[in-house]
Symmetry: C2
Subunit: 196 residues, 2 copies
């Protein structure tokens, strides 16, 4: 093989999700070929991110400041708080552009098997925020999995009577074909059918 620094880089890149040894080699060769356009900017940016990336102390979002941009923005103080499992879910919500309030990132779901209780997630902090901040509605945007829904039920129990609680609608996804949907989704969509 070639030099050890390059081998190290390939080995580290191969640990990223979605990359294996072969695609890591291809990526590293591509980087070295595009030194000015890609390798140098990437080296600088990754160094900056390694030095500054941190979790928002308020909501658990990832950013380069102690309080993330969303928590810091006065425009987002709508009183609506969207609870998500993960930063990736927060990013997905932001891409849709539909939600203008603030977030609370749990950092996972409750799981008896993995010994993850409320203390391991940001659930106590969520209860604090609902009490301390001026929250009018908590939107539970957890994944429609068993663990996600268990966690949603637990949070609903904790917050019941203190704030308006809602969850994302379930139904047929846009562009979805009935033939390819699972029974659970079709059942949910039928039960929540709307007047035209």
């Amino acid at each position: 093989m070639s030099n050890s620094d390059i081998d190290n880089l390939i080995e580290l890149m191969a640990k990223l999700p979605g990359l294996g040894p072969r695609s890591a080699r291809r990526a590293v060769l591509h980087l070295i070929r595009k030194r000015a356009l890609l390798l140098t900017p990437l080296a600088d940016t990754i160094q900056t991110v390694a030095a500054t990336a941190r979790e928002c102390l308020n909501c658990g979002n990832v950013g380069t400041t102690d309080i993330c941009d969303i928590c810091a923005s006065e425009k987002r103080a709508t009183g609506e708080l969207c609870v998500v499992e993960d930063v990736a879910d927060l990013w997905a919500m932001e891409r849709s552009g539909v939600f203008r309030g603030r977030y609370h990132v749990l950092g996972g779901t409750l799981s008896a098997l993995d010994a993850i209780g409320p203390e391991e997630l940001r659930i106590p902090r969520l209860v604090d925020r609902v009490t301390g901040e001026n929250i009018t509605e908590v939107i539970l945007a957890l994944n429609a999995t068993i663990d996600g829904q268990t966690t949603a039920h637990y949070i609903a129990d904790q917050l019941e009577g203190r704030v308006r609680l809602t969850s994302l609608a379930q139904g047929v996804p846009i562009g979805g074909e009935l033939d390819y949907l699972d029974d659970g989704t079709i059942t949910a969509a039928m039960q929540a059918r709307k007047e035209l």
Copy 2:
């Protein structure tokens, strides 16, 4: 979205082959979560590679020195020179461990369409090496594509009579099933059949 440095990192990662916007986001979140184990080592290594990676002046291999490890090693001075299109091909040969000589990386193939002539590749340098170094055999290990084979023929013309010229055998790959092989491979394997 989150902070601009993190966005920049996602944008740069998305330019790597094999990664798109979605997998780049996933990779960056993974990096931030595994800061000590992955993000910091990766930042350091990529900085080192950006500062030191270069092409070997002799053979075109990628390394962190002006003359690559293989060209510098006396053990590899077997008189055999393996000509490959690309550094990735050189790495593939090295992984197989079958070849103990030195390499010559062309950096592509001849292509009239893309206006790539012998001068754009390392073909003049190859002719120089065959004259200057103590080369007894040139093994053409170019890809079995039309461009690869055209390039191999051109090189063979240039070097004819000056050195022993060979090329990789063509035939059924190990583990290959006849039913899934193309006609050309089966024809080549039949024509080059061996006595048992």
